[in-house]
């Protein structure tokens, strides 16, 4: 399966990365990682290092690219997935508020509402 993993800097993205790599190692998925600079808790360099470390850890390779759009990364993810024939988009399943409520970011919301490619939210 051709997977497009969209990740930003929050913890749920790192969890999605880990699970996607784990599954790819078992199922021989072809993974492309799209890194989104979301101005969050981790910079792009730190996200790239996490991606390299996780892929190495599971012994898989993946194409790594950067989502250019700062204003509308969700739209660009959907565009990439649809125009390049991906089977699935994988994204993080949301962060939690101090209260423990799950909150989806605007990128996840856009992808869920607009993608014609199946979407997996990782929890």
């Amino acid at each position: 399966m051709r997977i497009l993993l969209g990740i930003g800097s929050a913890d749920d993205s790192l969890q999605a990365l880990e699970r996607t790599a784990e599954r790819a190692a078992e199922a021989d998925d072809e993974v492309t990682v799209a890194i989104i600079d979301d101005d969050g808790p981790r910079g792009v360099g730190e996200i790239e290092a996490a991606v390299d470390g996780t892929l190495d850890g599971w012994g898989i390779t993946a194409e790594i690219r950067h989502v250019e759009s700062e204003t509308d990364p969700g739209s660009e993810l959907v565009e990439i997935a649809e125009s390049e024939g991906f089977d699935r988009i994988v994204i993080g399943g949301g962060t939690t508020s101090p209260m423990g409520k799950i909150q989806l970011g605007s990128t996840a919301e856009f992808v869920l509402l607009n993608s014609h490619v199946s979407v997996t939210l990782v929890r």
């Binding site: 929050a10 508020s97 423990g100 409520k101 970011g105 919301e109």
Partner: protein, 183 residues
């Protein structure tokens, strides 16, 4: 997630803090008290949430399994949080909580199904805000699912204003006091 949240300029209230006693619309005598930190109250709340109808969960809380309910309760009953509980004798009928989030507090409120639509939620909410004001809380925010019209209506009536309407959930805020920078 750190976001700039909007709050009304005007101060809402005043709201009366706990304890408060009233008769609900079903004729039950309900007492709202601040959580006293006891294990008995913790267990009564755990029972309430274990019994909670999954249809009334919001954004993943209360959690669905007992172990997770207990972990969640231990976090939101912590010393830096403010909690009020509505009691029907020894039964916890409702619970509202303020959890610190930077210079503001996040609010959540739950009323057990058998006690809904009896006026308990409104009083619980006002009493919590009164408690918050007494304890120096300045700003409170919450999220609510936009299709939950009764809840949105209640929050507006009390003085919450919508600060973010672009997500799946509405975000609303209220101001209980002016900012004080001197402490």
């Amino acid at each position: 997630m750190t976001r700039d949240r909007g709050y009304p300029e005007a101060i809402a209230g005043p709201f009366e803090g706990p304890p408060r006693t009233f008769e609900d619309r079903a004729g039950r005598t309900i007492e709202i008290r601040a959580h006293d930190g006891s294990n008995e109250e913790y267990e009564a709340l755990a029972s309430m949430y274990i019994e909670f109808d999954p249809a009334d969960r919001a954004q993943g809380i209360p959690p669905s399994q007992e172990q997770r309910v207990r972990e969640w309760l231990e976090a939101i009953l912590g010393e830096d949080c403010l909690n009020v509980i509505a009691w029907d004798d020894g039964t916890a009928a409702g619970h509202a909580t303020l959890v610190p989030d930077g210079d503001a507090y996040e609010l959540a409120i739950f009323v057990l199904q058998a006690y809904q639509e009896a006026g308990i939620g409104t009083r619980l909410l006002k009493t919590l805000l009164g408690y918050g004001a007494e304890e120096g809380v300045e700003k409170v925010w919450l999220t609510v699912e936009r299709w939950n019209k009764p809840a949105v209506g209640l929050y507006k009536k009390i003085g919450f204003e919508t600060s973010d309407a672009e997500s799946f959930e509405l975000e609303m805020g209220i101001r209980l006091a002016d900012a004080h920078d001197d402490d």
